[in-house]
Symmetry: C2
Subunit: 493 residues, 2 copies
Amino acid sequence: MNRDAIQRHIDERLDAHVEHIQRWVRQPSVSWDNLGVEACAEVVAESYRGLGCQEVEIIEGRFHPGVWAYYDAGAPATIHSYCMFDTRTVTPVGWTHDPWGAELVPMGPHPKALVGRGAMGAKGPYVAFLNALSSIVAVEGTLPVNVMFLAEGEEIMGSPTYNAFVERYRDRLADVSLSYCATGSQGADGLVNLGLGLKGMIVLQLTASGAAWGHGPKSTIHSSAASLVDSPPFRLAQALATLTDADGRGCAVDGLRDLWPYRKPLGHEERELLDALGARFAGRDWRDVLPVGGSGNVDALNGGTEGIEPLLTFLYGPTFNVAGLWSGFLGPNTATIPFIVPGSASAMLDMRLVVEESPDEIIAMIRRHLDERGFADIEIEVYAAFSHSQTSPSDPAIQAALRTLEAWGAPADVWPIQAGGGPWTAVPNAIGVPCLRGGAIGGGSGAAVDEYLVIESGNGIAGLADAEKFHVDLLFNVARALEAGPAAMTNEA
Amino acid sequence: MNRDAIQRHIDERLDAHVEHIQRWVRQPSVSWDNLGVEACAEVVAESYRGLGCQEVEIIEGRFHPGVWAYYDAGAPATIHSYCMFDTRTVTPVGWTHDPWGAELVPMGPHPKALVGRGAMGAKGPYVAFLNALSSIVAVEGTLPVNVMFLAEGEEIMGSPTYNAFVERYRDRLADVSLSYCATGSQGADGLVNLGLGLKGMIVLQLTASGAAWGHGPKSTIHSSAASLVDSPPFRLAQALATLTDADGRGCAVDGLRDLWPYRKPLGHEERELLDALGARFAGRDWRDVLPVGGSGNVDALNGGTEGIEPLLTFLYGPTFNVAGLWSGFLGPNTATIPFIVPGSASAMLDMRLVVEESPDEIIAMIRRHLDERGFADIEIEVYAAFSHSQTSPSDPAIQAALRTLEAWGAPADVWPIQAGGGPWTAVPNAIGVPCLRGGAIGGGSGAAVDEYLVIESGNGIAGLADAEKFHVDLLFNVARALEAGPAAMTNEA
């Protein structure tokens, strides 16, 4: 490859590359608010067409469309590129810049940053990757690998259609030998997180309704008539109460209870990585290391606070959490009023698991548990159902990423698994290929307000040009590694 | 009194009287949203000063101020006038007029109506009453009774400070011999509802928090760390689950359980009124008569569907209802995101009771019930705590109201008790005086959008001028009745 020419191309076109990111950020795409996601799918499709993809197709999702595209480089190897183009909502207060303005402003230590919802999560880093691809194409005429793009606009909703998207293109994706999720993953200290795996994730909405129950009202009535009916939120509370121990802790779901607390047997390579992480944080309070909001935000940790146990609990321990409850009156400033009997009540159940059982099996256990206790009326809507996935640190693509980081002088924290999870494991598990997520330089802030992507850096984070140049190197290194032969995926130790 | 001159005064000043209502409606006062309530207290105080009250005082409430005022007419009798000057919120969509515009427009069958939030609930009908008082003062020089005004800006919140307001002025209110709540109460059929009592009302916010529990996070964290902490919404669900039977119905609170279902012994007068109501609705499906949203909205009624039983359940049956649940993610379009562990979870518990026990005793039972089951960490915040109250149909003030209605040709539905409840029973119970609520002509619509007060009527409802003239007659008739001697209040059958 003509590395110098590609790097020069990136430098010369940097303004256009920034405008490309601005085009994405200026198109609102808040999936939960049903704001602009359809229009954003068009923006995404336009980018794929601009890159030169031979196939670009907008596909229907449960709530919002996705985009399939294929760049046939005539190369021996093919990768899958994951993309989310929806964003979280714009919280009503606190932005000092237009969240859809994509303004270029100084931000913290950085002389220039692009501010807006989605700038960091995840439009900015992804478009930086697309910019790198287009510079390669401009100089080389094509890419070093074929790329199958599969983008969704429902990630913040739990990616409820992504499995179906993967199923739809399963025959095509069979050619893939690496699933790549381009994200900026560089902390303020310059350190890059490279994750070798993710927990599985299940997100379920449980709903009690007067209609299904037969006792409460079907839609909201005034609570002066509450003596005549029953209250669906109490029905939901009773159903939820069967799912945990009587004090609200643990998991009491039949079948799942036996798996709690789950501890995956750890292989030698994995244990070494964990020991390295443990040593790096030795002597610190785990509550200030792990993402629990600091020692001021939690009195105690499940798994204790001593030794490596909290880290293992964090990375491998199952979660069984209610992320949200809503019914009727939702508190101050919510455009609702009290003095009602609500027609329904819902809870969002969120699980992160490293277990043998498939998400479908887990969901069936919860369904059966409720049915057997007389709660057949509780509706379960699946928002996320993804298994965990892990790639060996000796996988050739991972090794290529580590070599690229080394060449760029960017130290990497290698995590054998990460506590998050979601659609990134869908293709790896469906096709049986490794997943490379994170491990790229560049970054910014994904904070609730004034979210930004670093364009010109004032500290150890790479600016946009270097982030794109890194992607060029990474793609060529990965292409070489993949040509050397298919990688092994370790789903187990 | 110079009835003709007062009526002429109302006709001549009607534009100014409408402007008076507009002044109140144009000042937003949404208590839950903390919008404009303080400014509205000033508008209320200005009206009391304009009427000629010798005392006007703005007083501090838990969330928003109230207003005390006294009009000393040198009359033998004194009444208490209840006023709420807060409103529910403006729902985000659906208004065809500015909710704070107080525009005068044709509406349904009516040639002229005043549209805006609070137009009907409850600013419009109350200012119509104040307009009537000012016309009496203009013609007669003073009022036929002394009036102690006690206004609040927290009614939609459950009137959390009204008991304290009453306590603060208890010595003054001791002179009161009637509590009057001026509302428009005329249905589209011209029929006026006259209620002789109200259920008690208790509204409690129950909150489970990581801080009090010691297991969950104190403030929101990402749910990828949920294996390290516990989930406050599950804690709330367990606490709520102890409060009902295992299927989510009934009330299982120690002490309260024994009172369920409560049925007040009915006296002869009361039974006659109930039989009259029962006869009026005979042959109709109670689900289409009682405010449960119609037979399409409820499959069955507690208390059955036969005979007078559903009516008795509606009027005397205790309620134990969750009016709202909220924690973390609140569903679509709520500016929240899932994938979190919330720091707290809350439920709004709403009870309507006709029982011997005081609200304080009931609340103590719930506290004790939770404590004894290990839920001492569940915080209880009291938003409403009012006992039931009933006035005998033979009470002189009630008789005066019935005579006034008869003279105006307005048929009255007399309800021995109404299923609603709230601050209107505070003064009657504290001082031991009867309550007159409703029983005035005039009306409109309190719908969620395009709420309006009828100014010029196109059907059987009184327009503004007649509503005000009715208030003049009512006040003189009531004054005469009160001078004849103190009324008896029956809190029991």
